[in-house]
Amino acid sequence: MTIGIRKVARPREMTFPESLYLVEIVKGLGVTMGHMLRNIVRQEGIMTMEYPEVRRRMPPRFRGRHRLMRRPDGSPRCVACYCCATACPAKCITIVAGESPDPAVEKYPVRFDIDMLRCVFCGLCVEACPCDAIRMDTGWFTPPDDSREKLIFTIDVLLEK
């Protein structure tokens, strides 16, 4: 078997006018000015995504911010089985279970906190959930905040979406 040899174009020597740079600089200035004028006149060349207003569409399997699901009657689907907390490698889920007033539900989460500062977005909680109560399909990152307390998402925050 022979090895194929490919000719690679080496950078050629600069011609004299090129080595003076001046002409090339003016050409370069033309390019940048062209871009600028184009972008001022027509905006479609602009790549910027105006982030909070316009959000990138995440691929469907993107693991984003968690949300807790509700039953048809509006109560949280979570039964506080602790499977997610058990599966969580970052130990970021804190659940306090309680006796639900609805005997058909029996157990419900009095507290369901996810410490977003600890979460590693691995999705194991979603895998572990036997009730499909927790999902990470919001397509949304954890929004930044200015205190640690605000980044511990409580059950109300997680049920919002």
Binding site: V79, A80, C81, Y82, C83, T86, A97, G98, E99, P103, E106, K107, P130, C131
Partner: protein, 525 residues
């Protein structure tokens, strides 16, 4: 002695042994639901089927008594198929609500399903028989009839152990369920055991309900401090919180049971704990460090002895303390302070209820130990109280959270007669409300040692986790206090104290932690 082979292994067992116990002896575990070692044999769950040579059908291992030359196989395809079939039947009407079931994690249905079943349900969900869930049937028990597999362990327990017979089967076939009679809830002091013996989640503890998933819990062997019986328990904890006690099998003390009062004893290690040393100055509590408070306590005790003679100091020991601690307390009182004022609070607050089974009238785990260690109780304690009330005691070192059977007002009145009261206790109580200096010590789950129960049985309890807050191990506290009083002790941990104790104290002579083991050892005398 009949000898038989189980799965090719030969074993000799006494006459009358059943296959299930013979197999256990050589480490073969035969699945079971209805069989319980401390209850009679029912043979109704059919999980323990094994193949016995020359028997045409499979036999229940729990009820078949071994004969010489018997050849038993538990691992054949036939056995496996039979057990899997039984399991599938049991699961037909089971609600599979493991996410909310407290038994999940220690459920025999789960375990055997993972071992033998792993099948898909062939029964339509809507055809399942629904029964009543979440029934408060009294005692410490919540009943979920749906989860029940009708093994009858609970029925037999109430018949054979407590003799109260509250639970019984009702109805027939698919609709059979377990329940109490109308208007007759569980009414005995041993209901908690039902949750333990129930192999599934039908009977669960009301107290432990939804507190914690069992797989987060770690356990260590301990002894119940609720009464002088000293039931052996398994203490379950997560972090530095105790979640429950479960009885640990000890045929000589509590067999496999414990009372409902003892089950709640764990709460003392969690709630109303003394966690920071403090002194009370002009009615206000002032936080202190151990390094700041200990010398003060030592100084006040020494000062009282030096100024007004050894009997101006007094030491009240606690029967809640371990043998090791009591031994050190006695040595501090008699050797270092030289005082005759030493007694332990043998009186018990409350009615001193007892029954003929496990519950003892003496609600302290170690009164017997105090007696064996020559600390006077009873009348001696009353004399000491009189002395204190007469204002003859200038400095008092006091162990425990209550002062015998004295009420809060009596305690406050008595202790107000002493200028300096140092309390070493675990929980807030009548003493800590008035003591001059409060030294928080480790709870029973945070320190190790031995208790001597009413019958003189010395039993070990272990430290499960380090002391909470600023609480200190009692041995360490007593050693440093003694050294400040000029002792020069070098005790390091309870084991070294016990060695010294066993060497000098007659009743404990020849004992060691090894000989005590996990089940205890009788003291002499």
């Amino acid at each position: 002695m009949p000898s038989l082979t189980i799965d090719g292994k030969a074993v000799d067992v006494p006459v009358g042994t059943t296959i299930i116990n013979a197999a256990e002896k050589i480490g073969i575990e035969i699945p079971r639901y209805c069989y319980h070692k401390h209850l009679s044999v029912a043979g109704n769950c059919r999980m323990c089927l094994v193949e016995v040579e020359k028997f045409p059908k499979l036999q229940t291992a729990c009820s078949t008594v071994v004969t010489d030359g018997m050849v038993v196989r538990t691992d054949t395809e036939k056995v496996r198929k039979a057990v899997t079939g039984v399991l599938e039947f049991l699961l037909i009407n089971h609600p599979i609500d493991c996410p909310i079931c407290d038994q999940a994690g220690e459920c025999e249905l789960q375990n055997y399903y993972m071992k033998f079943g792993l099948h898909k349900s062939r029964f339509a969900l809507e055809d399942k028989v629904r029964k009543k869930k979440v029934q408060d049937i009294g005692g410490q028990i919540v009943l979920d009839a749906e989860r029940c597999i009708l093994c009858s362990r609970c029925v037999r327990f109430l018949e054979e152990v407590t003799g109260t017979r509250e639970l019984q089967f009702f109805r027939r076939g698919d609709h059979s369920e377990i329940s109490v009679f109308p208007g007759r809830p569980l009414n005995n002091n041993y209901t908690g055991n039902l949750a333990d013996i129930c192999p599934v989640g039908a009977l669960t503890s009301k107290d432990f309900r939804f507190k914690c998933r069992v797989w987060f819990l770690k356990a260590f062997p301990s002894v119940c401090t609720g009464c002088a019986r000293g039931c052996n328990v398994e203490a379950f904890f997560k972090g530095d919180i105790l979640y429950r006690y479960k009885p640990r099998v000890n045929e000589a003390v509590n067999r496999a049971w414990m009372c409902d009062f003892g089950r709640l004893e764990y709460k003392k290690a969690n709630n109303a704990r003394l966690l920071v040393p403090f002194v009370r100055e002009d009615g206000r509590e002032k936080m202190m460090s151990w390094g700041g408070l200990l010398p003060q306590v030592a100084y006040r005790l020494k000062d009282a002895v030096e100024r007004e003679g050894p009997d101006a100091a007094a030491v009240i020991a606690s029967p809640q303390s371990s043998n090791e601690e009591l031994y050190l307390v006695r040595r501090i009182a008699s050797d270092l302070l030289g005082t005759k004022n030493l007694a332990f609070t043998s009186r018990v607050p409350g009615d001193g209820f007892s029954d003929g089974f496990l519950i003892r009238g003496d609600k302290n785990p170690n009164s017997r130990g105090a007696q064996l260690l020559r600390i006077p109780g009873g009348p001696a304690f009353d004399e000491l109280v009189v002395k204190i009330a007469a204002g003859k005691v200038r400095a008092l070192l006091l162990f425990g959270d209550v002062l015998g059977d004295l009420t809060q007002e009596e305690t406050a009145g008595l202790l107000s007669m002493v200028p300096f009261v140092a309390q070493a206790g675990t929980n807030e109580g009548p003493v800590s409300a008035v003591a001059t200096a409060v030294l928080p010590i480790a709870s029973v789950a945070e320190r190790g040692g031995t208790f001597t129960n009413h019958a003189g049985r010395v039993q070990r309890f272990h430290a499960g986790f380090p002391p909470r807050g600023k609480a200190k191990d009692t041995i360490g506290f007593l050693t440093s206090l003694a050294n400040r009083l000029g002792a020069g002790w070098a005790f390091d941990g309870e084991a070294s104290v016990f060695r010294a104790l066993a060497a000098t104290e007659g009743p404990f002579a020849g004992m060691s932690y090894e000989s005590i083991g996990s089940l205890g050892q009788e003291a002499k005398g």
